[in-house]
Symmetry: C2
Subunit: 277 residues, 2 copies
């Protein structure tokens, strides 16, 4: 018996989230069905993050125990071939891709051993682009507007450190013992790279084609409450639009009340980028 760890990217727009559900198409369900058929045995995945419907992943992780009888270095390719075969029609590529498959020590668990995660959130302040409708949050109902990136970045900085983020937790998630979390890093960047960096030094940051009208929030921490990144994004967008001052973040945190924070940004601008072990 070997223990495997997968790094997985997916376009969440056609899925009802990660977690297996009896009657909805989910990423976990899709992978377990495909792999169980491929290897002719029951494969059960332990995913790191239960991403919501519409949320994407660039680096989701999932571990599983199995005796596959196949060299580990061939695993990702075999899995990706099977995933493409699951698509109807000859042309379409799979919305899920195994980036990496590796063997890990016995007992390693993709969720329990997770030390932290990084998410990114893509925001557009330009006109509605129907081809990005599932991949970025068009603020201001898709009417071009100006977002104050410096103010957003100042507000984001106040989220760093170990604090009680109860104000940024939506109802309906798994009950948690504590709402204290540590945010390692939180920054807001214009598409193409760090704000204020000379143009020549900017690097693409957005996963699916960062554009001039895009702003990206990058946030990492030891854990996130239910909808926390989306509520943080909604609040930062209100700062960017001038509806809130950057230093209101402090008062929002102190309030320990969901009503003090801003709106919940939609799922489809959110990407699970990286998991730390």
């Amino acid at each position: 018996m070997s223990n495997y760890l997968l790094t997985i990217a997916y376009d969440g727009s056609g899925f009802h989230g990660w977690q297996r559900q009896p009657s909805e198409k989910t990423v976990q369900g899709h992978l377990e069905t495909t792999f169980s058929r491929l290897f002719n045995r029951d494969i059960k995945l332990n995913g790191t993050s239960r991403t919501d419907a519409g949320v994407h992943a660039l680096g989701q992780r999932a571990s599983f125990d199995a005796d596959l009888g196949i060299p580990t270095e061939r695993l990702a390719r075999v899995m990706n071939n099977a995933l493409c075969g699951c698509e109807e029609g000859g042309f379409a590529l799979s919305p899920v891709r195994i980036i990496k498959a590796e063997e890990v020590p016995e007992g390693f668990h993709a969720r329990f051993d997770c030390k932290g995660k990084k998410y990114i959130y893509r925001i557009s302040c330009g006109e509605i682009d129907i081809f990005r409708r599932n991949y970025v949050y068009h603020v201001n109902d898709g009417k071009p507007c100006i977002l104050d990136v410096d103010a957003m970045n100042e507000a984001a900085g106040l989220l760093k450190g170990t604090q009680d983020f109860k104000s940024f937790e939506a109802a309906g998630g798994t009950p948690r013992e504590s709402t204290v979390r540590t945010i390692f890093q939180a920054k807001v960047m214009a598409a193409g790279g760090e704000i204020n960096a000379p143009a020549a030094e900017r690097k693409p940051t957005a996963p699916a084609g960062g554009r001039d009208d895009e702003i990206v929030l990058e946030i990492s921490g030891d854990g996130f409450l239910y909808n926390m990144v989306r509520i943080i994004t909604g609040t930062l967008v209100e700062v960017g639009l001038g509806k809130r001052r950057p230093d209101e973040i402090k008062k929002i945190i102190e309030a320990k009340d969901r009503a003090a924070a801003g709106h919940t940004a939609p799922p489809y601008g959110l990407y699970l980028k990286e998991v730390y072990y």
Copy 2:
């Protein structure tokens, strides 16, 4: 009774093409159902191009006669609001967008009065990007490769003018009297603009986020045979990969035989960009 002309953009990936079908979701069917309900009368659209399943549009046109009792300048907004309402859930934006709605003289017909069309085709020679899987053609099975853009552009140039394009016609389309067409312009560009243009002068050409690993074919003409742009693209890709010499295009045209041309590129890299009247 007024005669209206719509300019329409759509993400074709969720549709079985433009043309209304009894049991499949099509763009025409979706628009006619939405507008008939919105205006409480039977709306029938005359679309310019019957785009295939998976093909996108940046500037499809459709005309219709109706007595709407609404100022024309408000029409696009009213239609777009109705289209968004058709989507399930509160968040998702519509995959179809009315770019422009205008009044045209009595008797004007979006298809019969069409003088020509421009298509673009997006090709990626980079690694598979699952977020672009419905929007570009990943050549070489998504394994990074080099496409000789100069050779492709040389081959594209040989398509220009009035010629018999029988070799570039797929079976199964509407029967045509003649397979002679006039190609006004055909060029292949690296993403970001014209090939060999200085970086600073390059402009974005791809509709949904042109990237460094992308190549775009832009082709305009007075009309196109069934699958003609996709067969041209497949043939140019074979030139780019070094499997054919650029000047083979002449022999392919002379052959008047589909078997002489290259493979048919998939639908999802193709965009109807513009219609000429």
